[in-house]
Amino acid sequence: MSQRRFAEALLDPEAPLPPGLVGPQGRPAPKRFAVYRNNVVGSLTRTLEAAFPTVQALVGAEFFAAMAGAFLREHPPRTRVMMLYGADFPAFLDQFPPARHLGYLPDVARLEQAIRESYHAADSAPLPEAEFQKLLGSDIADLRLRLAPSLRLVRSRWPIWSIWAAHAEAGPPPRPGAEDVLVLRPDYDPRPHLLPVGGGAFIAALQSGCTLGEGLDLAGPGPDLAAIIGLLISGRAIVGVGE
């Protein structure tokens, strides 16, 4: 019996049982094979539940399990490290017809994936306070900030931070509107922050290597530079500067 037959039958509930698998009396054993099927589907579903708790809260446990089942059959893990499994779950939700009426759902999943990536990202030391003080004398518009590996930016036309906060922190009901979210991990706990208007474009520009001045130009009117830099400093997210 090849492992190919075994593996295919695990993920396809309609597939016939692989031949040559028997119980103690030498007879075919569908309920015994079902233990392996349940283990595989159950463990991968639990991985996705742990990674996307707000998505699960939004659609309910039963609907989430059905989505997870469809996803894991179409996208079985290519990694053996479960903290990495599900990175393409948000893109799958973009194309998942039964959830199409929930337009915000894929971006909420992107925010949760960003939080998860931040949690496991490499550690980094913030730029020391004294270094900042020295820089304040210079023309800061020409500075390029090096950002922490745990920093993530999620930009959305949906109020994803408000939706996340309503579920994770019992925040007020979300109102319609675009929200850009910055995930920072000052120590070991990633935290999503709602960015002011223009803040998402500004951070995206810094991530692509722009100077602070170029970032402000790209962000257009609106972003309060001091407030955003303050957020980055308190989030220990600036790990270096360059010209």
């Binding site: 103690p24 233990v35 949690y119």
Partner: protein, 282 residues
């Protein structure tokens, strides 16, 4: 490789590490003398899991237990995964590394379960090749764990004990004896658990696992035990364990509880029970 000891773990109870137990462990570990982690949960780039692990490794011997190598797989071992494992072990220098007689990958897909293989001369030679590669890559002797199984393969020609003994003989690896798995497989496959222990090469065992299981019924209404690691160790498994320790002497013994994880005192009570068997009052 062969001159390495079977294990550097102390012959005391250990537990599977769960982050919610960290404060209790640091305050008073009680009878718990070492901790086991699942390798794949510590393969991130950084963050809290690795920071906690470094902290614990300064205080406790650590056993790294892999669940993703797919040693019984038909395909070649995953080079990337072996490299991640080497990175983890090189940084941590654990007291033990162990993996399973099972497979979990096929054609690049990872199925996240410990799947069974038939025991034949062909699978024996494949498993031995894979273990040779693992031991060479890690530069350390590994322990191979007996699986819990729910069904059998018509093509099997070797007993599980003979298969494991042959792997250990050919590769020089040690064995991890999961007594709960012995009990589960014995009930599920309708053989005598004590007979399995009688035949097992106990002198090659570097670690013992004890855990809980669930009970169901198969298509013919036979008992079907399911390895759940979500309950206390049952009395028949404790009795088998006492037999193992009576014959083999004290061994590092893990209380494995991965699902519906209880509060720390419940785990300590299980570890205490193992400690009483390891060091009987004279």
């Amino acid at each position: 490789m062969l001159d390495q000891m079977l294990t550097m773990l102390p012959a005391r109870p250990g537990v599977g590490y769960k982050p919610q137990h960290l404060p209790a462990i640091l305050q008073d570990a009680g009878p718990v003398g070492w901790l086991e982690i699942h390798a794949e949960n510590y393969m991130g780039a950084g963050g809290r899991p690795l920071a906690q692990l470094r902290h614990l490794a300064e205080r406790f011997p650590i056993s790294v237990h892999g669940v993703g190598l797919s040693i019984g797989g038909e395909g070649p071992l995953g080079r990337d995964h072996l490299a991640r494992l080497k990175h983890l072990c090189d940084g941590l220098n654990p007291a033990s590394f162990s993996e399973h007689l099972a497979w979990s990958t096929h054609d690049g897909a990872f199925l996240n379960d410990l799947l069974p293989l038939p025991y034949t001369p062909e699978t024996l030679s494949r498993v031995c090749d894979h273990i040779d590669q693992v031991q060479e890559a890690l530069g350390r002797r590994m322990l191979l764990e007996n699986p819990s199984t729910y069904l059998a393969f018509a093509e099997t020609t070797l007993s599980e004990v003979d298969f494991l003994a042959a792997v250990a003989r050919r590769t020089g690896c040690g064995l991890l004896l999961d007594v709960n798995n012995v009990y589960i497989s014995a009930v599920n496959q309708n053989y005598d658990a004590l007979g399995y222990i009688d035949a097992f090469p106990l002198h090659l065992v570097g670690e013992v696992h004890l855990g809980g299981h669930d009970e169901d019924r198969d298509d013919q209404d036979n008992r079907l035990l399911i390895d759940s690691h979500g309950t206390k160790v049952v009395d028949p498994v404790w009795a088998l364990y006492a037999q193992v320790i009576d014959r083999a002497g004290p061994l590092p013994t893990l209380i494995e509880w991965d699902n519906d994880v209880p509060d720390w005192p419940v785990l300590v009570a299980e570890a205490d029970r193992a400690a009483r068997i390891l060091e009987p009052v004279t």
